[in-house]
Amino acid sequence: MGSEFIVFLAVAIVAIGAAVGMALSRNALYSAMFLILNFACVAVLYLLLNAPFLAVAQVTVYTGAIMVLFVFVIMVLGAEKLPAGESRKEMAWQRPLALGLGVLLLIQAAYVVFTRVVSSSATKLIDSSPLAIGKALFGPYLFPFEVASILLLAAMVGAVVLTRKE
């Protein structure tokens, strides 16, 4: 523990606060900003977890590409104002039920984490530099890597076709 745990605690509190803010905000644009803050916090946690490549990828891919796309679409559609009476009258029971199910999910996860605890952990840190990641990507993970490229190409063509004006 020590200083590393203090950093974790501070970042975790900010991440949880950002997630709650995203879930509760009445403005879609504020929600997007809260989510960006959450992603940045998770990037810091990746650094703590010995994953520098993923931390940079998190910032560039998630906060840099995905969330920019979200903010762009929200602004283009002008859909940032969410109506205050968002919950319908006939679905009034749905909100407490969802909250209860969420708490149940959290309790289940915590139960599993605390009962199936494995005390053994790796004593030495692995080499997780971009060089090691690249060697693994073009070695044992070459086939999934190529499939991912085809997936991205298909997504690009799909997005262009879906938003094209007739």
Partner: protein, 100 residues
């Protein structure tokens, strides 16, 4: 209680917040953002376990999850734009054309 337990608990908490948000929100864009939060929570668990077991595979899996999330967001937001043009809104309760 070992070194990765706090990370797994944080991951579970973020996932639960995302799940509750998916269930309570009516706006398609908000539901989509909550799904991103859940994907991110799962990624955090992957990286934490990769450190615990001293293996690189967890980190590579997160890399592929990021790729799939990027593809999913591109297509999903294109669908939302198309729905917004057709329905003048992104409320999921209004998308019941196949029911009636």
């Amino acid at each position: 209680m070992n070194e990765t337990t706090p990370y797994i608990l944080l991951s579970a908490l973020l996932f639960s917040i995302g799940a509750v948000s998916v269930l309570t929100r009516r706006n398609a864009i908000m539901i989509f953002m909550s799904i991103e939060l859940m994907l991110n929570a799962a990624n955090l668990a992957f990286v934490a376990f990769a450190k615990q077991w001293g293996q690189l595979d967890g980190q590579l899996f997160v890399f592929f999850v990021m790729t799939v999330a990027a593809a999913e967001v591109a297509v999903g937001l294109a669908l939302i734009v198309a729905i917004f043009r057709a329905k003048k809104g992104t409320d999921v309760d209004d998308l019941s054309a196949m029911k009636n």
